[in-house]
């Protein structure tokens, strides 16, 4: 099976077997040599995750086969994948319509969250001014704004963009401010020795030094953005990923609905991976 091709050690074991021509019982010998390898391969090769996913797939298949409403509420993997393929054009269109809401809201939240976090984190009077409000406003679950935003703002797109912004802003802002607060003394000393002006200090020292915090704020913010977006789309969108799932749930077309959920999961995963790659580039200097 696969195990033999993925594992790096079989080659080694084969070599061992091959370099023992003196033994006249090679056939018998190679079998026990292979055994510890086999019992260990899943532990050594780090494929547990794949194994777990396969097990889930199997359970899914079993439930959809044997549950009394199985085929209806739990469309089998095969049926779902067919539904996924069939609705792929619609999903891609939905992805685009979701992204033109998510991207501006998220990017605006990142930009303002970073700039405002750097300023508030390094300015005593701004911190005194803004902190009480932040303490009050930041823990409010952002989904609670959705109905009001939809009522208040002229179009669904602006309303959804606004709640995406709110969802991402607080994590980015709070993490940036925390990053400035944990700025090592030595960077401050060196900046003072070099006589850096305030804007240079913020942009060339405080900002890069806070990047590890900023990136964790950005990943939390990205997850929040997706939550806000899909929830907003459940309320009143005419297109988009959340809308897709809502629509086929209303039609009781569960294969498409499940396909939509899986597809959305994949989109979020890819977005997080993209952010992770950017982070790895930007933080090359962190050991």
């Amino acid at each position: 099976m696969k195990a033999n091709t993925i594992e790096p050690q079989p080659g080694f074991a084969i070599k061992l077997a091959a370099t023992q021509p003196l033994s006249n019982k090679t056939a018998v010998k190679s079998a026990p040599a292979a055994r510890p390898r086999r019992s260990n391969w899943w532990r050594l090769s780090g494929k547990e995750g794949v194994l777990f996913l396969l097990a889930l797939l199997l359970i899914w298949q079993v439930i959809s086969t044997f549950h009394f409403k199985g085929a209806y509420l739990f469309p089998s993997p095969l049926v779902t994948s067919k539904a996924l393929r069939a609705s792929l054009p619609e999903l891609l269109k939905g992805t685009w319509s979701s992204f033109i809401i998510l991207a501006p809201g998220y990017l605006l939240a990142v930009a303002t969250g970073i700039v405002w976090g750097l300023l508030v984190g390094t300015t005593a009077w701004l911190s005194r001014l803004f902190s009480p409000f932040a303490r009050f406003a930041s823990p409010v679950p952002p989904t609670i704004y959705i109905p009001y935003a939809i009522a208040l703002l002229p179009t669904f797109r602006t309303a959804a963009g606004f709640v995406v912004f709110i969802g991402a802003f607080w994590p980015v802002f709070l993490n940036t401010a925390a990053g400035t607060a944990s700025l090592p003394q030595r960077y401050r000393d060196n900046a003072r020795i070099l006589g850096l002006k305030r804007t240079e200090y913020l942009w060339r020292i405080v900002f890069p030094a806070s990047l590890p915090h900023i990136f964790s704020g950005m990943s939390v913010g990205l997850v929040f953005s997706f939550i806000m977006l899909t929830v907003a789309e459940l309320f009143g969108a005419s297109a988009g990923l959340g809308r897709f799932v809502q629509l086929y749930a209303d039609y009781a077309d569960y294969p498409r609905m499940v396909a939509g959920i899986l597809y959305t999961g994949a989109v979020v995963l890819l977005s997080m991976e993209l952010l992770e790659q950017i982070k790895r580039r930007a933080l090359f200097w962190v050991k």
Binding site: Y187, D189, N190, I193, L194, G195, F284, W285
Partner: protein
């Protein structure tokens, strides 16, 4: 004894670095007590003392990074109230910004010392400074790719790029191995003696040998609280040849005398403390 000559340095008043009745307390605890010190321009002074004696605090006060409780601090009769480009600092480690390449770490300093110049010119000059410390081939590297000794070379280059007449060095080689330490000591001596006009250097260390090898004058700090227990002029002519000098009996006698002076101070302090404790028992 000739070696423990306590005459104050060449007292050209009004110029140089002046410390008068300087006192620094941290949360009511005195860290530095009544420090009086005059360092003439172009002089190489080592502040020598055990850890915790407040020598780093003294250096940070000279740099303007801390505010003293009372006394006076001035450079060329101008009071020191904060950091200034006139006083470059090399810290024990972590002087560089890890997200900037070496050359950018230095252009950051050049942008301050030569604000009228353009980027291209600064880049060229930065590379010259790196060449001066023997790192011309690593200009685009980042600090994390370098050994501790190399990082300190860059930190020295950056301090030089600031063009400060005063160089404050806080145990800059404390974390280095003996070979690199010796190399960098010679680098600092070269830089110091080749500069025209000569730079004024205040070099903090706890290493007696290092202090004797480098300094024109050694200021010995005793601890709890930090105060000057002795100043002495280093009698050896320059250029000093490391092998010949450190092997000479004069060098070793001086080294032993300094160590002895610190031992005396420690003993006196312990005695004083036990007297206080004894009084307390009496009450």
């Amino acid at each position: 004894m000739n070696a423990l000559d306590t005459r104050p340095a060449n007292s050209a008043l009004g110029s140089g670095l002046k410390v008068e009745s300087l006192r620094f307390a941290y949360n009511e605890t005195p860290v530095l007590l009544d420090i009086n010190l005059t360092i003439t321009e172009g002089e190489f002074v080592c502040v020598l003392g055990p850890s915790g004696c407040g020598k780093t605090t003294l250096l940070r006060l000279l740099a303007g990074l801390e505010t003293f409780s009372s006394g006076n601090l001035s450079w060329k009769s101008q009071p020191i109230t904060g950091p200034s480009l006139e006083r470059g600092v090399v810290f024990q480690d972590y002087s560089l910004f890890p997200w900037m390449s070496l050359v950018n770490n230095i252009t950051l300093a050049l942008a301050k010392s030569h604000p009228e110049t353009d980027k291209k010119w600064r880049l060229n000059l930065a590379e010259e400074f790196l060449e001066m410390v023997g790192l011309e081939n690593s200009a685009r590297k980042h600090p994390f790719e370098l050994s501790g000794g190399m990082q300190q070379r860059v930190a020295i280059a950056r301090a030089l790029a600031l063009g400060s007449p005063v160089l404050l060095m806080d145990e800059p080689f404390g974390a280095l191995d003996p070979v690199n330490r010796a190399k960098l000591q010679d680098l600092v001596l070269n830089v110091w003696s080749n500069a025209n006009p000569k730079k004024t250097v205040v070099f903090v260390t706890h290493d007696i040998e290092e202090a004797i090898y480098l300094a024109d004058r050694i200021v010995m700090l005793g601890s709890s609280p930090g105060r000057i227990i002795q100043e002495l002029r280093v009698p050896f002519a320059r250029p000093r040849l490391r092998r010949a000098l450190t092997g000479s009996p004069e060098f070793q006698t001086l080294q032993e005398q300094i160590a002895e002076r610190f031992r005396q101070d420690t003993l006196q302090r312990i005695e004083a403390e036990s007297v206080v404790a004894g009084d307390a028992e009496g009450i």
